[in-house]
Subunit: 260 residues, 2 copies
């Protein structure tokens, strides 16, 4: 078995309204990759957000009273905190520099995934808006975005594909972010191996595997965080059959979570 991940070269800086299918199609051609049945494209959430115009200028945000209170505790900009609250269902923990929330999309992450790095002003930004106060929200509905991109790429290629949206998350207990899946289409989120037999015929027990997160972590390794960022990765050799896929399979219900 072989799993190959390849970064797509020369992806331009994405602007609101850009056609990501067209951008990816050109980058695939440049990388001389012809999409085949079973291939998967992993995309950094950032380029999906940018294409979908999820930029907000902090000057446009009026912080509520709770946001101002939380801003004091977290030592963050109250306007940014207001956006974090709007993007969240629940605040789990607060410390200076980080607000850990359950995002409205159901997963737990810091600062509702709102990003302040690699955020350029949109081309039509009014000149009086400070260029350093643009922030980027996560896509409105990453799995719907993944489904749209998948459909576009499947139509062009004729191949059955998967699309995975990746965001970097911190974790309980361990240092360092890892790539996690925040939306998908066309591949399984988890694989449930309960009931399978092991090498000696015993039933396997705790064997629900978070395959979409494992794949997101792999792709994230190649995406980088800094100037050499490469936001799209082609994956060949995913060792499970493609299927429609359901992102929410990855979300542990609150009442079953020992660490909330």
């Amino acid at each position: 078995m072989k799993l190959t991940l390849t970064t797509l070269p020369d992806i331009p800086l994405v602007q609101p309204g850009d056609d990501l299918v067209e951008i990816l199609w050109r980058a695939l051609a440049k990388a001389r990759i012809r999409l085949r049945h079973g291939d998967i494209l992993a995309l950094a959430s950032k380029i999906v957000s940018k294409a979908e115009g999820r930029l907000v200028h902090l000057s446009q945000v009026i912080p509520s009273e709770p946001a101002q209170e939380l801003a004091r505790k977290s030592e963050k900009d109250p306007r940014l905190v207001e956006l974090i609250l709007r993007e969240s269902r629940e605040v789990l923990r607060v410390r200076p520099g980080a607000i850990i929330v359950e995002h409205r999309l159901g997963f737990v992450c810091a600062n509702a995934g709102i990003d302040h790095s690699n955020v350029a002003p949109p081309p039509d930004a009014p000149a009086h808006l400070s260029s350093e106060e643009w922030v980027l929200l996560l896509p409105e509905n990453p799995s719907a975005s993944a489904a749209r991109l998948r459909k576009g790429l499947e139509q062009r290629s004729g191949a059955q594909l998967g699309v995975l949206i990746v965001d970097s998350h911190g974790r309980a207990w361990r240092i360092g972010t890892v790539g996690n899946c925040i939306g998908l289409s066309g591949l399984p989120a988890i694989v449930d191996e309960r009931g399978w037999k092991d090498l000696f015929g015993y039933e396997l027990r705790v064997t629900v595997v978070g395959v979409a997160d494992e794949l997101a972590a792999a792709a994230s390794l190649l995406m980088g965080q800094a100037a050499e960022a490469t936001p799209a990765v082609h994956i060949r050799g995913f060792p499970y059959p493609l299927c429609e896929g359901n992102f929410s399979d990855l979300l542990r219900p609150k009442e079953q979570d020992l660490f909330r």
Copy 2:
């Protein structure tokens, strides 16, 4: 950039005392892989444990009073619970079926990583011991094991290599296990990108990346859990320079952990 992961074929069932360097060397030859500078081998913790004789028969374990108490709460075999306690520094949470601990090696996992599946009796096992009561502890010191294996493979190949020991862990908040690094030699555990500039010259903030865990997740995808288990994966194209590496970089100090 390209990252390629390849399973090594025909790894035999490993027995206590087996020479893993020799086993891996033969499997690499069979896969027609010639080790190059920068290559990494990821190994399932299971084969390292087996080679190091970390099998225990439950009949040899006498449960303490605390183990018996915890066995009632967790609905587990008191002898297994005794082993879990011996392998742990602290019990974090208990529910029927799982005891979440800080392992003596410093990471948080369920049941101290003690495994009951794919555990065959050792060849010299006395016949009166029930073959279903063998369990497998994690390696005594996975990073030391990784360093030994690395040295052996570097001597044979002449190439500078990395070795990564992988175990599947459950997580807070999300469903499904993912491969995590529990020991390494020759590659960085984390990459600290704080201070790097992003595409627009802003300093990146939260950018300590758990690269060894991301790589472990990638390798784990190919390792499988069941009958077709492939416990060794060759990795080429890791996008960071090799270095001595320090596993404990991945461990969040308890007092800095908001979820303990």
